[in-house]
């Protein structure tokens, strides 16, 4: 069953919170270079699945394998250093630092690794990292805000900046938890264009999204999650026509 193109394999993962079976028997394979969307009603367990992948939560049973390496049991920083970055549902940013610094920090993590006692240089002398960060901010259309404190950005801008923080690491796998929530239609479209652009560079993505416009314009594969189970998966067209999916969405809406 394992295919050589599979970079991420979530194998028989269960996650319980007390009596709540938040993830039940999840088996998910993400292929290299593809955009894999996960959709489902509120509380379905989508964010929990990402939390298990990045090591924020340990699965109750099962394992996550990334490119032949078992992630389960590794620390979040080790998982990131293997090439997995994540945009969170509620932005996780450095609110007290400037936008530019927010983007420089992940670039330094990529260059210097998990720990480096880099005390002899000044930030000003890190010209390459700075240029790289500015370039990244241009890509997401935020260069004019580079000196602003990140905490004072709008919700949509915080997300865009967080996306820049992930992209600057050129991760092999990018996890996006509702990256366009809180964005205007215009910003959503810009973000879709950006995500399409990085897709052409071969970055693998797992994206959680409520906005079906976003899902259908980006996804190669879709998995539908409801009450902790994958109830359907396949290409966008297969999923769109699946009666179970419509039922789950209607059930979730009530």
């Amino acid at each position: 069953m394992t295919n050589s193109n599979v970079v991420l394999h979530v194998a028989d993962v269960h996650k319980r919170f007390g009596g709540l079976h938040a993830l039940a028997d999840i088996d998910l394979q993400v292929e290299e270079g593809q955009t894999h969307a996960i959709i489902g009603p509120n509380g379905a367990g989508k964010s929990t699945l990402l939390n298990v992948i990045i090591g924020k939560l340990a699965p109750t049973s099962g394992a996550v394998v990334f490119d032949g390496t078992v992630l389960t049991g590794k620390k979040p920083y080790q998982i990131n250093q293997l090439g997995i970055a994540r945009v969170f549902q509620t932005p996780e940013i450095f609110a007290d630092l400037s936008v530019l610094q927010n983007v420089m920090i992940p670039a330094l993590a990529k260059r210097d690794g998990a720990f480096k006692l880099n005390m002899l240089r000044t930030l000003e002398s890190e010209t390459e990292i700075r240029a790289e960060a500015e370039h990244m901010l241009e890509d997401v259309g935020m260069i004019s805000r580079r000196e602003m404190a990140a905490g004072s950005l709008s919700r949509g801008d915080k997300r865009r900046m967080e996306l820049a923080m992930c992209l600057i690491q050129r991760p092999r796998l990018l996890l996006l938890d509702e990256p366009t929530a809180g964005m205007s239609r215009h910003d959503t479209n810009t973000t879709i264009e950006l995500l399409k652009k990085i897709k052409s560079r071969g970055m693998t993505k797992v994206i959680i999204e409520h906005d079906m416009h976003v899902v259908f314009s980006l996804a190669d594969k879709i998995s539908v999650l409801a009450q902790g189970r994958i109830i359907a998966d396949g290409t966008p067209d297969q999923v769109r026509g699946n009666p179970k999916v419509q039922e789950a969405y209607l059930g979730g809406a009530h």
Binding site: N80, E92, L97, I105, L108, L117, N118, M119, T122, Q169
Partner: protein, 380 residues
């Protein structure tokens, strides 16, 4: 230093000049005597180092006096066993306090927030109690560790015969008394400021700020934050040890009370009063607290009676009784009150006050030319 950004260089030069000219500009305040100025330098250094941990990473240690005390003991031992020269004493103090900080930091940093603070407090109180009990052969208990005429001083003995009296600390033969002692401490404060400035402005410093701002994001960004916080902890412990050794050099007596929790609390107050996270703030906080401590703890009831003399009989007596609680031994009560006021009304400390005033002036200045500009500019 050549690669230093211009603003940093100006700040450094300004700081160095302000420190070196202190004997002049402190004179109108009645504080221009070496003994007090030395304490300004020493506690400034202590607060500067404390800020590297607390101000940059946000980890609030309540036990930094332990490193200060360890530095003092180490320095006195070096002066007893090796040489009366100050430099080996300081190097020895740096090494010992660094090792000590590494051990305590390694354990304490397994927790964060309030649990971290309590762990550091517990370790410091343990050190304090040990200094009074089992460790008395090293610390000389309540009497405190002092230089003695019979000290071996092996290194000194190799070059010269024993002196007939207890020697006082020197640096390369120069006695560190009076203003020499002050400039000696001032030199180290300036060097320490330079290093703190470099750390703050380095990529390492930015990582520490990242940890303070959002440790979770640091982890998911690929950083192992533990060694970063441990490095900051050890550096700030060594600053404390260096400050402790300077105190032992200018006044060669090390007592365990330097390790008590009140001493740990004091450096927290200095840092927050001045402005945690800023470079200059903690030093100014230290100066202010040491200055007012000096004034308030010297006031006695007779002085208060004279001060309140203008009040009618009975009332003046009441005023003396109430105000006496805030001076002398009661200085800590005043300090506590000031601290409460600062935290409530100016949580960023004195530096935030300065910033607010500066931006207020800036705004006032900007609004004037703006209203005048339409006249000077041609219509569009």
């Amino acid at each position: 230093m050549l690669t230093m950004p211009r603003n940093d260089l100006l700040l450094f030069l300004g700081f160095a000049i302000a420190v070196l000219t202190m004997p002049i500009w402190m004179a109108p305040f009645g504080a221009a005597y070496p003994d007090l100025l030395q304490r300004f330098m020493i506690y400034g250094l202590f607060a500067l180092g404390f800020n590297i941990l607390f101000g940059l990473t946000g980890y609030l240690s309540f036990g930094h006096a332990a490193f200060f005390g360890v530095g003092s003991y180490a320095a006195v031992w070096s002066m007893k066993l090796l040489t009366i020269d100050a430099l080996p004493a300081m190097i020895f103090a740096l090494i010992i306090s660094g090792i000590f900080a590494l051990a305590i930091g390694y354990v304490s940093l397994r927790r964060s927030g309030i649990y971290f603070s309590i762990l550091t407090l517990a370790f410091a109180q343990m050190s304090y109690n040990l200094a009074y009990s089992v460790l008395t052969p090293i610390t000389n208990g309540e009497t405190g560790l002092q230089l003695n005429i019979n000290d071996p001083r092996y290194l000194d003995r190799m070059f010269s015969a024993a002196t007939p009296s207890v020697p006082s600390p020197t640096m390369l033969g120069l006695p560190l008394t009076g203003f020499t002692g002050f400039y000696f401490c001032a030199g180290f404060l300036i060097i320490a400021f330079f290093i703190a400035q470099r750390i703050t402005g380095s990529p390492f410093g930015m990582m520490l700020k990242g940890i303070k701002s959002n440790q979770t994001r640091m982890n998911y960004t690929g950083f192992n934050t533990r060694p970063y916080t441990l490095a900051a902890f050890v550096i700030s412990g060594m600053y404390a040890g260096l400050a402790g050794s300077l105190l032992a050099i200018t006044d060669p007596l090390a007592g365990a009370e330097r390790m008590q929790w009140t001493a740990s609390g004091e450096v927290v107050l200095m840092t927050i009063l001045g402005g945690a996270g800023t470079l200059v703030g903690p030093v100014i906080g230290a100066w202010l607290i040491k200055y007012f401590e000096n004034i308030f703890s010297a006031i006695n009831e007779n002085m208060l009676a004279r001060f309140w003399d203008f009040l009618p009989d009975g009332l003046d007596h009441a005023a003396v009784v109430v105000s006496a609680k805030f001076v002398g031994e009661g200085w800590f009560l005043t300090l506590g009150l000031v601290f409460v006021l600062i935290v409530v009304f100016l949580p960023g400390g004195i530096m935030e006050g300065v910033r607010r005033i500066a931006s207020w002036i800036d705004r006032n200045r900007k609004s004037t030319p703006k209203s005048a500009s339409p006249k000077t500019q041609p219509a569009e």
